[in-house]
């Protein structure tokens, strides 16, 4: 089968901005997303605890498969709004898909 190559946007952020990121995803009419509950460590310190007491130490990860153009816009939106004050990173990967239409921006 011949494949198309599109982008996978990855955003790992503190739980506090989950809704904000979802908002960006919807605003930009991304065709979909996948969400993970993760733990980790980075510039903003260790965020790797199992207890639920401290919600603001939790991390989530978004993966969004989209065309390169939209990918850039999503990353830009996250970087501009949240990199300064929040625990968050964003990066891009390339993935090979089968049916490109499935990953086009939503029309509605």
């Amino acid at each position: 089968m011949e494949r198309k190559t599109i982008k996978k946007v990855v955003i790992i952020a503190e739980l506090a901005i989950k809704e904000e990121i979802l908002h960006i995803i919807n605003e930009m009419k991304a065709p979909g997303y996948t969400l993970y509950e993760v733990r980790g460590m980075g510039e903003k310190g260790v965020r790797d605890f199992e207890t639920t007491q401290l919600e603001y130490f939790k991390n989530i990860k978004f993966e969004i498969l989209v065309d390169a153009e939209l990918a850039e816009r999503i990353v830009a939106a996250v970087v501009d709004n949240y990199f300064k004050d929040y625990a968050v990173i964003a990066y891009l990967e390339e993935v090979q898909i089968l049916r490109q239409e499935k990953f086009r921006p939503r029309q509605n």
Partner: protein, 334 residues
């Protein structure tokens, strides 16, 4: 007779406190003892539901009096005022900037439910009754300090646009008023109020009998959480650590005075003191992440959980109770 020492010791050898200590030790010794995430949430949910429901039933028995109203008003005002005092202390004794100082002061103005619950268990041990509306007072003390804390922190914001953007984003308001803690507390309170004693007979086997046991599990987790935060205190200056000790005393004193003035029972006075002395580590931090993302929670959290919470649980509560009784007898006799 109940000397302060007796009271303090009796508190220290009660199961919930001992489980808290066990948890702290486990954390210090890096044991792999851990409370599964789900259980932690469930336990908080249970405590809030139980304490709220009991308070509601309590309320349904007494009719709304003027004391109640003044009490509620006092609670809100106290919690709004406390951050200004806390802020003053911090700015005077440490080099912390306005933003973080404001953030911390918000934590100390607000309250910790678990400390409150431990207080009620403590009072039960001493067969000391308290007014049902104290749970409402607690709820009313959660939000106001966030506002005063923000007002104080705002001064530190360099970017004008940040300083002048509205204090309450809709997001913050939802966070504060529809937050799950407040929701479950007030909701259960209302349900307890509506169903009254009949409701209590239905629920006693759930929120009554096993209550202390659940509290013990919860205190075990609190011990783990507190113990793990101790590490981070290393880097803190002495003045800040000390603040974690004396601020609750300041708060408690004000609470006791206010409680006596508005004519609460000894038990009620004690709980108000506990509310003023305790500091928030759930509602306030969550709210600040949105309203003041520039604030560094890795200062406030260890201070609240590593110093103030244990202090209140281990020594504060008996102390406040003793003082409340003392003050009360003075007034009575005087």
């Amino acid at each position: 007779m109940n000397t302060l020492v007796n009271i303090a010791l009796l508190n220290l050898v009660s199961p919930p406190i001992l489980f808290f200590i066990l948890g702290t030790i486990a954390a210090r010794l890096k044991s792999d003892l851990d409370i599964s995430a789900g259980l932690g949430k469930t336990l908080s949910l249970y405590l809030m539901l139980a304490i709220g429901f009991k308070g509601g039933v309590e309320l349904s028995r007494s009719e709304l009096s003027l004391t109640t109203l003044t009490a509620l008003l006092t609670a809100a005002m106290l919690s709004f005022a406390l951050p200004f005092i806390a802020y003053g202390f911090i700015r005077l004794t440490t080099k912390m900037d306005r933003i973080d100082a404001g953030a911390i002061s918000a934590h100390y103005g607000s309250i910790s439910l678990v400390t409150f619950v431990a207080g009620t268990a403590f009072l039960e041990m001493h067969a000391e009754h308290f007014e049902g509306f104290l749970i409402v007072m607690m709820v009313l003390m959660e939000a106001p300090p966030i506002i005063s804390g923000l007002l104080l922190a705002r001064q530190g914001l360099t970017a004008a646009k940040e300083r002048h953007k509205p204090l309450f984003s809709p997001k913050l308001l939802r966070e504060v008023f529809f937050g799950w803690t407040i929701f479950i507390l007030l909701g259960s309170l209302l349900i307890g109020f509506l169903t009254g004693d009949r409701g209590m007979t239905d629920m006693a086997g759930f929120i009554g009998l096993p209550f202390i046991g659940f509290l013990c599990l919860f205190m075990l987790e609190m011990g783990l959480v507190a113990g793990r935060r101790l590490e981070e205190l290393r880097t803190f200056g002495l003045p800040l650590i000390l603040f974690g000790f004396y601020m609750p005393l300041v708060g408690a004193s004000l609470g006791i005075l206010a409680g006596l003035l508005i004519g609460l029972s000894p038990g009620g006075v004690t709980l108000l003191a506990i509310l003023c002395a305790s500091a928030s580590y759930i509602v306030v931090p969550a709210a600040l992440r949105h309203a003041l993302p520039q604030a560094n929670l890795s200062i406030s959290i260890p201070l609240v959980l590593g110093v103030t919470f244990p202090f209140n649980i281990l020594l504060g509560i008996p102390l406040y109770y003793y003082a409340a009784k003392l003050g009360w007898s003075v007034i009575r006799t005087g």
